[in-house]
Symmetry: C2
Subunit: 201 residues, 2 copies
């Protein structure tokens, strides 16, 4: 979920314009203070369109999350049958992306608020479950290909992918709720783990 995606700079259609307005309003107000009205304030077209398409704030936010997941799927580098080690480095970068500067603080904070909704709301929980599954599937695929290429050791791709995904969730939560200095140290150790426990000797 990076910034700088095309729908932010230049929305193609009404839905992308709504998604852009939601992205901006969510970063600005956070989940709790967000209203459809405030999303409308960031929207150049008629606000009645928003009320026509969505029954509630959560309804719109769930559609926004689906849209972001599709963007993520489309933006992931196409996996080729070579260079799984470069690809795993990209994944490490992505894993720590919430600890870096690729995503604004405000947006990272809003995403954690939405995730925390999943503690009490099945629709949000179900979304983040699918989103996490997608991340694990992608990482496991890379690990599996790397093993076949002899780049990685004969590890369990599913277990490895699970730790990557958990680390991703950890970096995101840490960054917005606590001391984010720790992310640099954690990343150094995670890279050691990849070098010494994942790459073939």
């Amino acid at each position: 979920m990076n910034q700088g995606t095309s729908f932010l700079d230049d929305p193609d259609d009404t839905r992308e314009a709504i998604m852009r307005a939601t992205y901006v309003a969510l970063g600005k107000h956070g989940y709790s203070d967000l209203t459809i009205q405030r999303i409308g304030d960031e929207f150049s077209k008629s606000k009645s369109l928003l009320y026509h398409h969505y029954d509630s704030k959560d309804d719109l936010l769930l559609d926004f999350l689906e849209f972001m997941l599709t963007q993520l799927e489309e933006q992931l580098p196409v996996y080729k049958d070579s260079g799984a080690d470069d690809h795993i480095q990209d994944i490490v970068d992505q894993t720590f992306v919430f600890g870096g500067t690729h995503t604004s603080d405000d947006f990272a904070r809003a995403i954690l608020e939405l995730r925390t909704q999943g503690a009490n709301d099945d629709a949000f929980r179900s979304y983040f479950t699918r989103s996490d599954q997608f991340v694990r599937k992608h990482v496991a695929h890379t690990i599996r290909s790397g093993i076949e290429q002899g780049i990685f050791r004969d590890v369990d791709p599913q277990e490895t992918a699970a730790l990557f995904q958990l680390t991703f969730v950890g970096t995101m939560t840490q960054r917005v709720t606590s001391d984010d200095d720790v992310l640099e140290d954690a990343r150094a150790e995670f890279e050691r783990y990849v070098r010494e426990c994942l790459l073939a000797e």
Copy 2:
């Protein structure tokens, strides 16, 4: 932050009785729906005591978090100059404790809600920063002693502790917001990391 601590079963004094009532009410209502009134409903003594001691719900919750941190500090096994490998296994258990059954779902959910408050509230953020620092200091101390004993490889204790602490935050967030089946796989990989990247050969 385990269940079964003495203040829950048998509060020693008024403060412990307040902390017990807060623990129970927080698990029952979550952060958003919690009120001092609802904490009072779990409190056997006069509710006016609560209003006398605390200005607001957040004031009480921050005192509760401090109390829990002190409990955690007191409950941690006393570190002896032998057996750092057993101790690191205890820490792995603690790291994945939120993925296990030691803490109730309701309480784990409430703790994440409080942590997420740290995204927008400096008092909560400052608390979780200190709490995370405490966890890292404890892990780093164990790693350092293990290196001196020749049990662990010559790793960087601070970086290693950072990854442990990040994983702890990840397990807690994952458990309450998404698919928690993944925790078993992530734990298996994390234990492989400890065996192959941390223990001396």
